[in-house]
């Protein structure tokens, strides 16, 4: 198995990871037909195609069905607490730019309990890839309305129908200062999902992909219309963005050339009600990354620590009469 090989050759560049090298020994326990499976596959393919060393790859998640993904990856994983995947990932990234950090989160996890972290993670713009598995419902806790649930959804907490209009994660993300990469994908067009994920991975900064994810268990037939009618999906293409494979282009004829640096159009697309925009809405590679801004100029060494401590002690020092005190500078 290639995994064993990689162990032996550990300090050498690996170019031979197969899909299997990214699969953990644990079989996914999602319901059959769950869109999370397609997302996991896209992740594993990306790792293979990019030849990401499993030991240099970290998948961080919160809590929910979606957040189980790290358990199924053969990589370092951190299945944290509800809503807090993003700050955990930020903590990892701040000292470890060498690690590839992915975050998987659900719509409840990200847009409800973790909403504050979500907004600030966009603002920090750290170099990581975030996959929002948006099934419009709480899965793991068995069907409660989520912030992205459609108005009128009957759920265990909204037996007479959800009262509020849904929150739109795309427009919200686009509205935060420092936003640098926003895309939308759907689990039922895996090729496109993969392409978008790859673009996100290559983006330096906080790349946010909202993935519409089917939950046959609690939202059966919810995305049927979009799944059945390719014209309901508007695919965004661009020379600097996605380039469609012919087979996708043939099926999904509703296309728009969208320059992902165009924020105004991105916002209009994100807000579209009748059609589903799929592709890269916004991509601005020039936004500075917090992890780079906060990286210390000099790496911490014992000598440096000693010097700085002594400088500080000097400032508040008391010396015996026999020893000269530092003189006040001019």
């Amino acid at each position: 198995m290639t995994a064993t090989m990689s162990q032996c050759l550990m300090n050498m560049v690996q170019t031979d990871y197969g899909i299997g090298d990214y699969q953990s020994a644990i079989a996914p326990r999602w319901c059959s037909g769950c869109g999370d499976t397609a997302i996991l596959t896209a992740m594993q393919k990306l790792c293979r195609d990019e030849q990401l060393a499993p030991e240099k790859t970290v998948c961080v998640s919160g809590i929910g069905c979606a957040s189980r993904l790290p358990h199924y990856m053969n990589a370092y994983g951190f299945h944290g607490i509800h809503g807090r995947a993003l700050p955990i990932a930020e903590g990892i990234k701040i000292r470890r730019p060498d690690l590839n950090v992915f975050v998987t989160t659900g719509d409840g996890d990200c847009c409800s309990i973790g909403a504050a972290h979500w907004l600030h993670a966009i603002r920090y713009n750290m170099n990581m890839t975030v996959l929002l598995h948006d099934n419009n419902v709480y899965g793991l806790t068995k069907k409660q309305a989520s912030p992205t649930s459609p108005k009128g959804l009957k759920s265990n907490t909204t037996p007479y129908g959800a009262a509020l209009n849904p929150l739109n994660p795309l427009t919200v993300t686009l509205g935060v200062a420092n936003v640098s990469f926003v895309a939308q994908a759907v689990d039922w067009i895996p090729d496109l999902l993969y392409d978008i994920l790859q673009k996100a991975y290559h983006h330096k900064g906080f790349s946010f992909i909202r993935i519409l994810q089917r939950c046959p268990n609690f939202m059966d037939h919810h995305f049927d219309e979009a799944v059945r009618d390719p014209l309901k999906t508007r695919i965004l293409t661009h020379a600097d963005g996605l380039r469609l494979k012919p087979e996708i282009s043939r099926i999904y004829k509703n296309q728009e050339t969208h320059d992902p640096i165009n924020m105004e159009r991105a916002l209009a697309l994100a807000a579209m009600q009748e059609e589903l925009p799929v592709g890269i809405l916004y991509n601005n590679p020039s936004v500075p990354c917090y992890d780079e801004l906060r990286a210390g100029e000099r790496p911490s060494t014992p000598g440096l620590v000693e010097t700085v401590l002594n400088e500080e002690f000097d400032k508040v020092g008391i010396w015996p009469q026999s020893q000269p005190t530092p003189q006040a500078g001019e």
Partner: protein
């Protein structure tokens, strides 16, 4: 224990006339030798009493005196000027010996207006008969109500038996600088240097150090004002003291508790501090922010405490232990994340600078009431280490120790400090850097085949952590119950195995702890037990009681979870045991309270439940540090009890 010689001079001392002074401009009286004094300097906020007090303390410390300073902080950011709530300044205790606490009441007070003075009087902070030096400009104020208020307070002070000396501070400063309001703190410093016979050159060098970043002109103006204050006091005041202090033998540093914590973070080799601003913890992160980047490290101001804690957990997970600093309400918010760190066995240092609670409580005031939250906080069984700092020096070294324990045991280590230590200053021996303090470099070597991420050692419960980047170590960490391979497990047996091992680590650590020696005799009539910042005050009270022939000793606990062995044995050697704590307990004097419903102080409750012994408690939740005299009185009452 102020010497008798510092007792007030007779009340009928002639009072100075406006603009002039007490005595004639005759030769200075010889200095009276005293052993200690507590001095308070209070002003409106922004008038510089804080800096004056700090400089005084530094000069005293450099002369070899023991000092302890405490900031007097108004509750509001911009209280109205000349208001009772607006008192801002510094309390400086100076002594011929080492000082470990704020002491009791002030011997001498300098106030910039009569209203801020009132606040200190009403708080009972000023000794009966103490000397009060008061800025007298208000009596000439054009606005009659101000002049009247001034006169009223002066009358009240005199009636109260204090020695009041009115001083034309601004009027004097006017002779040297255009804006006397800005400079009078240095004039006052000069006066204090005269009153306490402090070395002129030393004082000047301290002022130069204080203004090291300012330009020459400013330094010179300040030096001139200080000299003027000294001369004015020499000429006009009849008070002249000397506190004989042995010269400093070893290099020392003077910092407050929060700065010491921050320096400890640097010295521990931790590289990330994640925080969210909260009083009184914030100043530690302010100071850390100013120095941490110089060693390539980062203070991250997170969007909230939950984020700060999880950010620190992420940083720890990826390599070196990280720290998060907070106070009461922030600690509450971090509890879920603390549980995660416990479950996933991520090292984490959490510093809680306690303040008055619950809720937003008394944000700037002193209390030690988070002990239970620290030990039992979070949900389920979440064993973690809890230690308390008991001096400024201890703030520094505790962080280094905490990081080591956290990384050795892969545990959460909480350090409890409090508002009393956070802004209090005390000199301690200058630490000599040791590379052993630092965290080891991040281990990225390959994990041996077949090693398990939670391969708990049967004796200690410790497992070696795999750090991202280590080949072969891939696993998914989770807050769910898990087996040795970090696989989610729902069966009771696996869950129990994890619980046993996580708790076993505490027992393993406990075996390495040594109980601090008893302060006083090993046996006697009464044992006082304390923890945290109250140490100095308790020991001072015990010393006083013993001098009077009482068989009282004290024991101070550094580790609250786990506790070192031998506490029960020590308690057994005393007829009575009582904790002294700065947190709530139901007073038995309340008719509603009896042994069935009494709520005990937090440490007392722990000791009672653990050893089934009758531990009484005494404490206060009055927002102030406990004072030696209060503790002494409580101990005497306990001794007298049947």
């Amino acid at each position: 224990m102020t010497s008798d010689s510092s007792q007030p001079i007779a009340q009928d001392t002639p009072l100075p006339a406006a603009g002039s002074a007490t005595g004639a401009k005759t030769a200075m009286r010889p200095a009276e030798v005293i052993h200690e004094h507590i001095i308070e300097i209070v002003s409106d906020s922004g008038e510089g009493a804080q800096r004056c007090g700090q400089s005084l303390a530094s000069i005293a410390a450099r002369s070899g005196m023991g000092i302890w300073t405490v900031e007097i902080i108004p509750a509001e950011i911009q209280p109205p000027p000349r208001s009772v709530a607006g008192a801002s300044g510094n309390r400086v205790r100076m002594a011929a010996h080492k000082v470990t606490n704020v002491g009791d009441q002030a011997d001498l007070v300098i106030a910039f207006n009569e209203q801020v003075l009132l606040s200190r009087l009403r708080a009972g902070e000023i000794k009966q008969g103490a000397t009060i030096l008061l800025e007298d400009m208000w009596k000439r104020d054009a606005h009659q109500p101000i002049a009247d208020a001034y006169a009223d307070v002066c009358a009240e002070i005199r009636a109260g038996g204090y020695r009041l000396i009115e001083v034309p501070m601004e009027a004097e400063c006017q002779k040297y600088v255009p804006d006397p309001r800005k400079g009078k703190n240095m004039f006052v410093l000069g006066m204090l240097c005269s009153i306490y016979s402090l070395d002129e050159e030393l004082a000047a060098s301290q002022v130069k150090l204080t203004f090291i970043k300012k330009d020459r002109k400013i330094i010179d103006a300040n030096l001139e004002l200080m000299a003027a204050g000294r001369v004015w006091a020499n000429d006009n005041l009849d008070m002249h003291y000397r506190i004989p202090a042995p010269p400093v033998e070893k290099p020392q540093v003077v910092t407050n508790g929060n700065a010491a914590l921050a320096l400890g973070v640097v010295a521990s080799g931790m590289e990330v501090c994640a925080m969210y601003p909260i009083t009184p913890a914030t100043s530690a992160s302010h100071y850390l922010s100013s120095i941490f980047e110089k060693v390539g490290c980062v203070v991250h101001q997170a969007e909230d405490e939950i984020s700060a804690a999880t950010f620190a957990i992420g940083a720890s997970y990826a390599g070196k232990c990280a720290v998060t600093i907070t106070s009461g309400p922030g600690l509450s918010l971090k509890q879920e994340a603390i549980g995660l760190a416990v479950m996933a066995e991520i090292p984490l240092v959490l510093i809680d600078v306690q303040r008055g609670g619950p809720s937003t409580g008394l944000p700037t005031k002193v209390e030690q009431s988070d002990l239970m939250a620290a030990i039992f906080g979070s949900h389920g069984d979440a064993p973690k280490v809890v230690m308390a700092v008991d001096s400024i020096e201890d703030c520094f070294y505790s962080v280094i120790t905490a990081r080591k324990i956290a990384e050795t045991f892969n545990m959460v280590v909480m350090i409890l400090s409090d508002a009393a230590l956070s802004t209090a200053q005390q000199p301690f021996d200058r630490p000599v850097f040791s590379a052993d303090w630092l965290a080891p470099p991040v281990n990225q070597s390959a994990v041996p085949p077949d090693a398990k991420p939670y391969d708990w050692d049967e004796r200690t419960g410790i497992a070696t952590r795999f750090i991202p980047g280590q080949p072969n170590g891939m696993h998914c960490l989770t807050g769910l119950a898990h087996d040795r391979n970090s696989r989610v497990a729902y069966d009771p047996k696996t869950n129990e195995e994890g619980l046993i091992n996580r708790t076993r680590k505490l027992a393993a650590l406990q075996k390495t702890l040594r109980l601090a020696p008893v302060f006083g005799d090993e046996e006697g009539d009464l044992l006082l037990i304390g923890w945290g910042s109250t140490r100095g005050a308790i020991e001072e009270a015990v010393t006083a009681l013993r001098q009077e022939g009482h068989k009282v000793s004290s024991l101070h606990l550094k580790y609250l979870q786990p506790m070192a062995s031998g506490i029960d044995e020590v308690m057994g050697r005393f007829k009575k045991v009582m904790t002294i704590e700065n947190n709530w307990n139901d007073p038995l004097s309340d008719p509603l309270i009896n042994s069935d419903n009494r709520r005990y102080s937090q440490l007392a409750l722990l000791l009672r439940s653990r050893w089934l012994v009758d531990v009484d408690c005494w404490g206060k939740s009055h927002g102030q540090p406990l004072k030696p005299a209060q503790i002494k009185a409580a101990a005497l009452a306990k001794l007298e009890q049947a």
